[in-house]
Symmetry: C2
Subunit: 566 residues, 2 copies
């Protein structure tokens, strides 16, 4: 392909609104343009890479027996009302009215649609299991679209759905899907982790996220370097083995702590170890306010309390609520003398502390030498804290490391959540109506494109592997009008084409410096410069990934290129 | 692929709302399902065919140097306001508001979007020409969605756009695109015609439609069996060579014609040849009411008058308006004694008539022996009528035939219509700002799928050619549990796969009659039945297109299948 015939609007300047490198380089290298906030056009190079990613996705999903379908973007409001999500989904759901004033959602996901599709036509366990996928433009009206393709309002997803008569069948498809995702991410050349995750808004009985390791990732993942263990930090279980202090229990004592409102103040002001302090939090748990206790050096994990108590809503109680309920400010709260009906939940580590320091529920005062069982009672001890780097893995064998990740995929065991709500049933072997058991499996195609760039780009631009590169070779004649250079360029173009290698030929009348800088930005794996030694049949080959370059004779060129690509 | 693992919900009954065969069979053969009026889900078989059509489209467009992009579905209202189409497009334009109350259109077409995309980044004639295409879901809120995929509200289009500095360059790309369309339709195995067309709502300086010949087509096309000439009936020019009657002109005479209100009444009542009658119509042409004259046996073509007078709106004047302006009812109108300021436009054939019969502008009376120049004056004689089957071609050499067509493609020379409105300019060789010269090129992918079926399906179901078939072979073991049949089925499946032939294996526990009927519906090119003679290595091969069947030994099977497919 001649570069003059293809739209690649490269830019020298970093766009002012692009904070991260995938966003910056996608714009600067002429791969995408923004058309409205969080809404992008894919120019030829991005479209080619996207098509290659989609081809890999199609191959790997076919490998596990999933078949491709395409459901509509426009989804009638009725099915979203059946599932209860028309109201629950919130302002992120884009909606419109047709000319007859009927409401439609612009699909952000297709659980309702696929359930509606199957419920009319699948009526027997004999026709199950079935697994479908589609690759489609999706819509979500993000409050703050940002980071280019990482968080857009119109984006490309591969979404898949499976229907089963038995839980074991769902488990098998879930595992197959995880395997396929792994192969897809491997073929994209990525360092990634599959992590235990929270099912969140989609719901269901289990889920895994697929995280691409990258500094700009919004998720923290914890993993063990020496095992398969990996989890979203919110879901990482703490390894706890009782290790009570052998110290003798003393009688509690009230001390004045003027101006000490944080654990750090207390440790310094009273000269006590942080491990002997207890942090007391007030939490609004659905309709009730409860107290949560943590060792001073630990952080609260609200997802764990939410799951423990099966809550719908969880948030920190306000300063006003604290004053009203406890008669003290946030910096002086503690578990001694709480209102009679207030439940206290404590992290497991709290039960090992003897002679702890806690707030006295009186502004400016703390208790020291406080002991549970003696001075206060706990409803439940449970794992309620965030893991810390260096903690043991849940099995107590490995050690946790932390990393930042970009979530590119999330797979869910939905169970019968949607099929029950939407009365989507089949007849089982005994002729009884049963709701479908379902799974759903998302993979962000446009987000994956950005994540690959976050992990692979260097400071000069994009760096593609052989499988994803829009073209394999960037062929640059220094003077396209020079007879020798033109002839050799044509010869090499032909050689490459005959060997199923694609090339982008920079036939523009630009200075070599401009051509080279654009070439680094665009990031094709191999650059071939046809210059002064063209008459001798000698060209310069440069490897984009390593920056190495060397002179190569035409006769050796093909072997050299294949060596670099593989 | 095992049939038990794929969703193909075939139906015995013809769906009550499906009027045409593509709609009926797409539903009955389990290819699509309707999710809302005019909004469909593509099930696995349709999706596979659609992917194959898209692959053909991509190949043929790459062949002419077009590169693929993907623009957003959501288009900011601002650019539609710039082009003037936000208001003009009407209720067919689907729109929505985002969470910040900003207006968006759901793209029915992308002229504004692509112009907006290019105007920021292309500033010099040196970077032109450029040609792009995309394959995308489009939206149009049809008042009466019908005929399944032929006229839906959410549908798939290939739309392409080209940008030029010279008209000649546009002409070249327009011709290249026409060639590519021809190759696409040929590879789909279609009988089609490329016809001269009206540019309609899109605008511009020239256009061609690509019509697939089919009885249910909504368009009438006229063509010459012995040449390349073909046109939409609206655009077909009449070959006119003056041939004035040699009859002596007589003086006009008023005759009572009670109850004669049509040309047929007049011909019968006055015993005159129809060629000596003149039909007088009143037409609302923008703000003005004009009279149009046609020979009695000819039909008015309003598109021709619209183009002649460069009108925005054209419609027949109402009965009330006729009475008010002419003082007579529609059945008694004529060109004699019209109001002084009324302009008369007449079809060319009218000038050859001597001693014509016309309405007297008095209910119940006509004039006979009326002559133009003597009894009335015409503003302009021009081609204002519809061609008739058997008319000569515009060059006077061939003869016109009629056919019904489904418009699957329409390509336009837009010129600078959009670029001027949207101030999208480049600098020419002399450093002067010039608006881009543009072309746009639409091809309906989902409509093409339906059109192929209209032309190829028989009374039993779909009939696919090798290139489009979702699988090449339908492999049907009569008793999947029988050891010999199972072994031979597996052997044939392997043989096919090794030779790049795909197969659908009907492993369902169904009666042979059910399997055969489903197989006819689904329409794979070759059916192989593995039955009683499996132990001998003999199967039955049936050709879907012709209905022929014969027994074949395994050793000869591959050759036989390839013979059928090619």
């Amino acid at each position: 392909m001649k570069q003059s015939k293809i739209f690649i609007p490269t830019l020298k300047e970093v766009p002012s609104d692009a904070e991260i490198k995938s966003h910056q380089f996608l714009i600067r290298a002429g791969y995408v343009r923004q058309s409205a906030r969080g809404i992008y056009s894919y120019l030829p190079l991005a479209q080619t890479v996207k098509n290659k990613i989609e081809a890999i996705v199609r191959e790997e999903l076919a490998e596990i027996g999933a078949t491709e379908i395409l459901m509509p973007v426009l989804q009638p409001a009725e099915i979203w009302k059946e599932s209860g999500r028309w109201d629950k989904y919130g302002a992120d759901l884009m909606t419109m009215k047709d000319r007859h004033n009927r409401d439609f959602a612009l699909g952000p996901t297709h659980e309702e649609m696929v359930t509606d599709l199957l419920r009319d036509d699948i009526n027997s366990y004999k026709k199950l299991p079935l697994t479908f996928f589609q690759i489609q433009t999706k819509f979500r009206d993000e409050r703050r679209p940002r980071f280019g393709l990482l968080r857009g309002r119109e984006f490309l997803m591969k979404d898949a759905y499976s229907f089963h008569a038995e839980t074991e069948s769902l488990d098998t498809t879930f595992d197959d899907m995880a395997t396929a995702y792994g192969r897809i991410l491997d073929r994209c050349g990525l360092e990634w982790r599959s992590v235990i995750a929270d099912s969140g808004a989609i719901g269901g009985t289990g889920s895994r996220e697929f995280q691409v390791i990258a500094d700009v990732g919004e998720d923290t993942i914890v993993y063990d370097k020496n095992s398969d263990y990996a989890a979203n930090v919110e879901m990482a279980e703490v390894y706890y083995k009782a290790n009570p202090s052998t110290e003798e229990k003393l009688a509690k004592e009230k001390v004045a702590t003027p101006g000490m409102t944080s654990i750090a103040d207390l440790v310094e002001g009273l000269s006590i170890p942080i491990e002997k302090t207890i942090k007391s939090l007030l939490v609004q748990a659905d309709e009730e306010i409860v107290m949560v206790l943590l060792r001073g050096d630990h952080e609260f994990n609200d997802v764990k309390l939410k799951n423990l108590l099966d809550l719908t809503v969880i948030e920190m109680a306000s300063e006003t609520a604290a004053l009203e309920v406890m008669g003290a400010e946030y910096g002086s709260l503690g578990p001694v003398n709480v209102p009679a009906d207030m439940k206290i939940y404590a992290d497991s580590a709290v039960q090992d502390i003897v002679n702890a320091s806690v707030g006295a529920n009186e502004t400016g005062y703390h208790f020291i030498n406080v002991n549970h069982g003696t001075d206060f009672n706990v409803e439940t001890f449970a794992d309620l804290r965030m893991v810390q780097e260096g903690d043991l893995t849940p099995d107590g064998v490995g050690t946790l490391s932390f990393a930042k990740g970009i979530e590119v995929g999330h797979i869910f065991k939905l169970g019968s959540l949607y099929s029950e709500a939407m009365k989507a049933t089949y007849l089982d072997e005994n002729g009884r109506q049963q709701p479908f058991i379902m799974g759903c499996y998302g993979l962000g195609i446009s987000r994956l494109l950005a994540a690959i760039i976050e992990q692979t780009a260097d400071d000069k631009g994009l760096v593609w592997n052989k499988l994803l590169a829009p073209y394999h070779v960037h062929l640059i004649p220094i003077k396209p009008a020079d007879e020798d250079q033109a002839a050799l360029t044509t010869e090499i173009e032909k050689l490459l084409a005959e060997n199923n290698l694609t090339s982008l030929i920079d036939d523009r009348k630009e200075r070599p410096g401009v051509k080279f800088a654009d070439s680094e930005l665009i990031g094709l794996p191999v650059r071939i410069t046809v210059g002064k030694r063209a008459a001798e049949g000698i060209v310069e080959v440069k490897v984009r990934a390593t920056g190495e370059s060397f002179e190569v004779e035409t006769a050796d060129l093909l072997a050299k290129i294949n060596e670099i690509l593989n």
